[in-house]
Symmetry: C2
Subunit: 216 residues, 2 copies
Amino acid sequence: MSTRKISDSMVRRLSGYLRQLRFLAAEGRRVVSSQELADEAATTAAQVRKDLSQFGSFGQRGRGYPVVPLRDELVRILGLRRPWRACVVGAGRLGTALLGYEDFGKRGFEIVAAFDVDPELIGKEVEGIPVLSIEDLESEIRTRGIELAVLTVPHGPARRIADRLAEAGVRGILNFTPTRLRARPGVSIRGMDIAVELEGLSYRIVTGGEPGGNGA
Amino acid sequence: MSTRKISDSMVRRLSGYLRQLRFLAAEGRRVVSSQELADEAATTAAQVRKDLSQFGSFGQRGRGYPVVPLRDELVRILGLRRPWRACVVGAGRLGTALLGYEDFGKRGFEIVAAFDVDPELIGKEVEGIPVLSIEDLESEIRTRGIELAVLTVPHGPARRIADRLAEAGVRGILNFTPTRLRARPGVSIRGMDIAVELEGLSYRIVTGGEPGGNGA
DNA sequence: TAGATTGTTAATCGATTAACAATC
DNA sequence: TAGATTGTTAATCGATTAACAATC
């Protein structure tokens, strides 16, 4: 199964191809060229072909790539054939906003619970999702089969809660806190650090460059 | 002034060093080694020294880097000496959550306005920030001297609004929408794409790797 | 002085780009 | 067949790592 090492930037590009393929499939398109995929994902046709060829030969020379089979292939590669069970930890403003983020479902991520410390919230539902006590974090994660966590707690408890999530068997954490989490074996971490991105924008602007970084 | 080309990943590391330097300065620490900065920013001591040496010689051999001067140097390099005037476009759940995100101010970004289409919201204040009509986007941006925009509108209008922001003279856009914005000369763009990051997590988990990507 | 740690050069590694034969 | 476009190899480019002389 051709397992080279795949860089983060390549995985991001694969997400971009998948998004475009889903769009084209919905429109009924049958075939797409590497050039067209490249345009949407802000890369080059050569890069698209190189990326895809890591996993097999999905296209037809002279014709392009068949939309639906390639989409399904990318869904398989990215591990999205079945939905992931996820929770939001921290039902504050940001957490609540994310509970209502409808694209989660569309993209294969099912939010099954939220956790918070606030007694006012615990036991209620927000956006149709039950808010549970963070005291029961470990047991609820186990009984509900939760695999991913979106972390939106304050800086103070962030590390400790990340440790508890790892302990409870969560496989991945999407970290919206301004806290750098230390790596834990068996747990993948992705950071969404607003301050870091804003500082990146600031740097690009003052140096007069618009190498827009990722273009997402 | 040493102007090599600086990669996005390097700018992200610089943000990480800055964060740690601010923390150390608040604690009263005088000196820090490349090794200590590396530990916090999830990189290596050699990388830290290489990164910093792009901009000058800030350390003392045998002693390390002086905390406050290096912090100030990074503030200067990243363009953070004066605060950036920013707005949030789209005062829905996510936009509102971001309006209350206190770290903006601490890190040198001042939110001076929000924009929305909802007549219920227009004219009110949310988190002490005035919500203005998106009809007045261009004029308000100009009169209020807004330089950055945080985009949290739905997919539908995202491209058009990004174009209007660019037209009105905004220098940078932090894009929380699931829409890929096309580059515009003079406007830097950073994407915070939740779906892309979740798919990245998914891939890392199914391939059993925890090369946690960024660790933010 | 002896120990520590930077700044910088050279070596390595990995990712991107270019080119083109294969083939639809 | 002629034109288009992939898959793949080779060339280029850039980023990271290692090593060590300089020097505090």
